[in-house]
């Protein structure tokens, strides 16, 4: 842990300084042009505070990934603007860590090399990067697996390495695109709990995309519900469950109420979409 504190990447201070504010103003994202134009995200405005844990919840294909990719810098909004800490997002960068839905570790690098890759790119020496990698691998419980190749790990382990890799750059924002989507229910619950633990330690802003209502309610301070295409945020729900949350939190009445509310919103939205299609 000491090594981590020693290492400060220039321009990306720890989150205790209140970094990680996200501002989206009137952003629309259209793929293609003319008749084949597809409106994936429609005039979305959004403010996320530093250190907030926000879940974006919505049906498949509604534009969740697209919105997240706009924050990450992979997609440019067709109109409107996205900025992080007041700086317009132009391209991907290490201040916004990304955890993908598919496995995205570099298969030709060991677990250890994958995690130390970011610090290396930021100019850390081999030993510095190595101690950072060890710290974060320890944090996700995979210190012993450093010399393995990604293909030798289970899916859950690979995603943990993915999280460690994103955190190793001390990002002010952690963007997660259905990171636990491919995991079994048991592993998923475990991963959710350990993600919350890590988040409590770092206080990074987290934007977490999911289509699982339970996951969203369990994790988030705020759940943003998106409509089916074209994607818009139709509900901004605050979840005031006490933290730290454990699997027992699911029994609390606030949890159940929030869950019911989300489900009802999604149901009425999909009914609307269905009627729209049948007109």
């Amino acid at each position: 842990m000491l090594d981590v504190l020693k290492y400060q990447r220039p321009g990306a201070p720890r989150n205790s300084s209140g970094k990680g504010a996200i501002q989206i103003s009137e952003a629309s994202i259209t793929f293609g042009r003319g008749v084949s134009a597809y409106h994936a995200v429609q005039s979305t405005s959004l403010r996320i505070l530093p250190g907030e844990f926000v879940c974006i919840l919505g049906p498949s294909g509604c534009g969740k990934s697209t919105l997240l990719n706009a924050i990450a810098g992979y997609v440019k909004p067709t109109t409107g603007a996205v900025s992080v800490d007041g700086v317009a997002v132009e391209k991907p960068g290490p201040d916004r860590g990304m955890v993908f839905q598919q496995y995205s570790l570099l298969p030709w690098k060991t677990v250890y090399e994958n995690v130390s890759f970011g610090p290396r790119m930021a100019g850390a020496s081999r030993t510095e990067a190595g101690s950072i990698a060890n710290t974060f691998l320890g944090m996700v419980g995979l210190k012993k697996f450093g010399s393995r190749y990604p293909a030798e790990l289970s899916g859950g382990m690979q995603q943990r390495v993915g999280i460690a890799r994103a955190l190793a750059n001390y990002p002010s924002v952690l963007l997660m695109d259905e990171p636990f989507g491919a995991l079994d229910a048991q592993t998923r619950l475990m991963m959710q709990e350990s993600l919350l633990e890590i988040w409590a330690k770092f206080g990074t802003t987290v934007v977490f995309v999911t289509h699982d209502v339970d996951e969203a309610v369990f994790l988030a301070d705020r759940v943003l519900i998106m409509s089916a295409a074209p994607g818009r945020i139709i509900e901004d729900l605050r979840i005031d469950l006490p933290r730290p949350r454990t699997t027992d939190s699911a029994a609390l009445s606030e949890y159940i109420a929030a869950r019911q509310h989300c489900l009802a919103t999604i149901r009425s939205e999909s009914r609307k979409a269905f009627e729209e299609q049948n007109k």
């Binding site: 810098g73 991907p92 290490p94 993908f100 570790l105 890799r165």
Partner: protein
């Protein structure tokens, strides 16, 4: 021969896949050293045995066909039997010139193949990442690739200052295309999510090239290198028509014009053996670069 060139360089074959499946049969690690364990592996021994058995059967058939002057559509009457060919081969082993032929050919291969590998991988990588370069270079590849090595001979003689340069040019050309195309194919196979991951970790364009694109293309590149080695051998054979003195291809052509049937077969078999051996050497050399694949299940 034209056809052989075509089929060999047509489709990039991902080499890694086949090796992967063979390796995945390895039993759980034991105390036996890895190399020995692999060498004594029953599956490997069996396929080795089967290969030898098949070759022996082929030689036996060849012997029988030429001994009985078999003439059923394919005529074996003038084909020398394995005994004669082997005797002729042993005879050549006593002469110094035979080794010179082999040495000269191997030198030519080494030079032209090295140039083809360096240029082919470089060009393939750049073409894979730049649409402009790709659009610019591709027409040349499309047009030149189908031209068989033999067809180049007259022009090569006119264009290059020395015989040696012409032969090397023709051999180089044969190896170049499979290497370029396989490299290009490999680069195109790079999963976009890996590029994105590297970008969000702060990697520069150059770093992405070195840490993501090149390793992702490596299985395909090494397949291209292996195919290119094979193709360079039969391009060499064509090129050595030009050579007035040395080379195993020259040896074979010379035997042909002297109507020395045994030597033709000796030449053919030596080329076959050298081609196989050098392709195996290339695979062995690129293997360490693919060691991460080995562990993929």
């Amino acid at each position: 021969m034209t056809q052989a060139v075509q089929t060999l360089s047509e489709e990039p074959i991902p080499l890694g896949q086949t090796e992967q499946s063979a390796l995945s049969k390895d039993p759980a690690p034991t105390v036996t050293p890895g190399l020995l364990r692999r060498a004594l592996h029953p599956d490997l021994l069996r396929s080795l045995g089967l290969g030898l058995l098949s070759l022996a059967a082929g030689v036996l058939f060849w012997h029988w066909a030429s001994a009985t002057n078999l003439n059923v559509f394919v005529n074996f009457e003038n084909v020398p039997g394995p005994g004669k060919v082997f005797a002729s081969f042993l005879g050549h082993l006593e002469t110094e010139i035979f080794y010179t032929h082999i040495r000269v050919s191997m030198q030519r291969i080494l030079i032209s193949y090295s140039i083809a590998a360096a240029l082919g991988i470089g060009l393939g990588l750049i073409m894979g990442r730049s649409r402009i370069v790709r659009a610019f270079v591709m027409p040349y590849i499309e047009v030149i690739r189908p031209i068989p090595a033999v067809a180049w001979i007259p022009l090569a003689i006119l264009m290059w200052p020395t015989e040696e340069a012409s032969i090397i040019y023709i051999t180089f050309l044969g190896a170049l295309f499979p290497i370029v195309l396989n490299t290009l194919h490999g680069v195109e196979q790079t999963p976009e999510v890996l590029v994105r991951a590297a970008q969000s970790l702060g990697a520069s364009r150059l770093a992405i090239f070195a840490h993501v694109v090149l390793p992702a293309a490596m299985p395909s590149i090494s397949a291209g290198l292996a195919i290119g080695m094979g193709v360079s051998w039969f391009s060499l054979l064509a090129g050595e028509i030009i050579s007035g003195q040395y080379g195993i291809g020259y040896f074979t052509w010379n035997a042909y014009s002297l109507i020395n049937y045994q030597d033709i077969v000796v030449g053919m078999l030596v080329i076959g053996f050298l081609g196989t051996a050098s392709t195996a050497a290339i695979k062995l050399l690129t293997k360490p670069l693919l060691k991460w694949q080995k562990r993929t299940r």
